[in-house]
């Protein structure tokens, strides 16, 4: 079959470039914004899962690590230890801290993981540095220009950077670790802990411990790590959602508007050709297919270019702005492809209506 739609589009390359460019811009915006949202979600989720513990005990009402606070009595740690099926208990404390680095102030969310007790060797030792040192997230280090061996000042206390690695970056802040002793010295929190992390004995399902743990720690909420990671990543990014939705809608409208205008003007310009095709035997459905094919062709090319550019943009933006974390999932690409196809179908409505009204007899006018 003669690819009329493609030939029509390629006949006017400037218009084609404008249309594909508009769709590409919309796709880039949609993917980048969505990948930023997914990136923050994934970082929160990964950070919680990387810490030791099958179960998280938090103060009732606590939703996440950064945007809500949690405080539990320090004595509950020893109370939890005595429950059957509990293997290890860890205390996790955290505060947003402002350090002085080379005369300027930098903020990071500093945590301290403490092994309270249990049978066998503790886990998560990679989160416990030596006294007087600090482990930094690589994003924070890149942002501040800090590297191993550098000094951070907090009041009269000084911390040497012991390690820089991927710990956790949730866009608004990054996580860092110091020793529990240093944390206590700075904040003087002897009677309370923020979170308790519990590891279950081998062969014990974490779910089965939830009721007894909740009973032992009054005023708490107990979650499996999976549950809390999901909840925290969802709640932690929840505030962005309305903004992200607005940007997604704007992107969709931009893409739709450009695509609609180009397809409509291309149809108007070739109204006579549609009339000719009607005269020589094209069915209305055949003509609609040509219009729709043009729209889908532009949309798909724009989608391909948009996906490629979005990856490139994320890479470059991540290098320039370290806290710009993105994550592009296959299912999100599939969803955006679906949105693109919907966009192309809507964009072809008006032109199809115009083609339907083309009078074939007009071709006899010279």
């Amino acid at each position: 079959m003669v690819p009329i739609a493609r030939r029509n589009l390629l006949a006017d390359k400037v218009k084609l470039i404008v249309a594909v460019g508009g769709v590409t811009l919309a796709i880039v915006l949609i993917i980048v914004v969505h990948s930023l949202y997914q990136g923050v979600r994934r970082e929160t989720d990964t950070f919680i899962r990387n810490l030791p513990g099958d179960i998280w005990i938090v103060q009732r009402g606590t939703t996440d690590l950064v945007f809500s606070s949690s405080s539990l009595p320090a004595t509950s740690a020893s109370a939890v230890r005595t429950i059957d099926g509990v293997r290890h208990v860890y205390a996790l404390n955290g505060r947003l801290m402002a350090f002085e680095v080379g005369g300027r102030e930098v903020r990071t969310y500093v945590m301290a993981l403490e092994f309270i007790g249990g049978s066998g060797a503790p886990e998560g030792t990679e989160f416990v540095p030596d006294r007087g040192t600090i482990i930094l997230d690589h994003t924070f280090a890149k942002q501040t220009g800090l590297s191993e061996g550098d000094e951070l000042q907090f009041g009269d206390k000084s911390f040497t950077v012991a390690d820089v690695r991927s710990i956790g970056n949730v866009l608004v802040t990054q996580f860092a670790f110091i020793t529990p002793e240093s944390f206590r010295e700075i904040f003087n929190v002897t009677g309370a802990v923020n979170y308790l992390l519990v590891t279950a004995d081998e062969g014990v399902a974490p779910d089965t411990l939830i009721a007894s743990l909740a009973e032992r720690v009054p005023g708490s909420s107990v979650y499996t790590t999976d549950h809390f990671a999901g909840r925290a990543s969802e709640k932690g990014t929840g505030d962005f959602l309305p903004i992200i939705r607005v940007i997604l809608v704007i992107s969709f409208i931009v893409g739709l508007a450009v695509l609609s205008l180009v397809i409509y003007s291309a149809t108007i310009e070739r109204a006579r050709e549609y009339a000719i095709m009607k005269v020589i035997g094209a069915s209305p459905m055949g003509l609609y297919r040509i219009v729709l094919s043009q729209s889908v062709f532009i949309a798909v090319v724009g989608f391909g270019a948009g996906v490629g550019l979005a990856f490139l943009f994320n890479e470059v933006a991540g290098d320039l702005v370290p806290q710009f974390i993105t994550y592009i999932r296959t299912q999100d690409i599939a969803l955006v492809f679906g949105i693109t196809i919907v966009m192309s179908i809507i964009a072809s409505f008006m032109p199809i209506n115009r083609v339907a009204r083309v009078e074939p007899a007009t071709v006899f006018r010279a």
Binding site: V2, L10, P284
Partner: protein
Amino acid sequence: MTAVHPTATEASVGSENGVILDVHGLTKTFGSGRAIVHAVDGIDLSVRRGELVLIMGPSGSGKTTLLTLIGGLLRPTSGTVRVNGREITALKERQLTKFRRHYLGFVFQSFNLLESLNARENVEVALNFAGVGGRKARRHATALLTDLGMADRLRAKPQTLSGGERQRVSIARALANDPQLILADEPTANLDSRHGHEVVELLHDIAKAQHRTIIIVSHDHRIRDVADRVLWLQDGRFEQFEQPDEHQSAMLDTAGVLYGATPQATTPPPTARGSSGRRGGWFPWRRA
């Protein structure tokens, strides 16, 4: 001149008395009340297979409207059009499209080629619409264009073709689906003398060698030389000139000066229906 081969289909398809087109009481009015315009006013016409009929007349006489009515591109106010025995005025839009695809070919004054397609694709696309695709369509389009002397211009875009070449592509497209009736609207109007003559010869050869019926609407007097009948349309009616009076003779002279058309009154051929009486009917003008 290029060779035009007879087609197998032509030999097998038949209709009553070889009449391929039968128009009866065809009327088309535009507007209403005092502003009503009778573009076509009670036309009767019968055309046989293989006939080349030329319809002439001054601008605004209704020639093109008549052609669009015969081609099923415009619905008549009243009257009927039968092509190959089938009344097309009763067909629904979808049936009309299908009918046009297989039974009618169109040749236009301004060629009406699709600018983004090359010569071969312009012919191929008509085949595609009729459900013929792929290599078969490409081969057939190539053969048609080769027959019309366009073998070396298959991949040329319309804008790079001369007027005569464009019209050949347009004719090849009209022939693509082997139609029995070809309607041509001023096919030589945009061509110079040489190319115009070639197109006229080509249409004549197609009518005679392939036994296709061709109706041409034109001002071009050269076509009179090859037409089997010349009809004169005036104010939406075929004018009768059995014995031209002074006024009619003056009009013919004027037409001859203006359009080169000097029809002669003759008796109608056996297939031509006589005057309906009510509107004065029509008589063909056969060249001497």
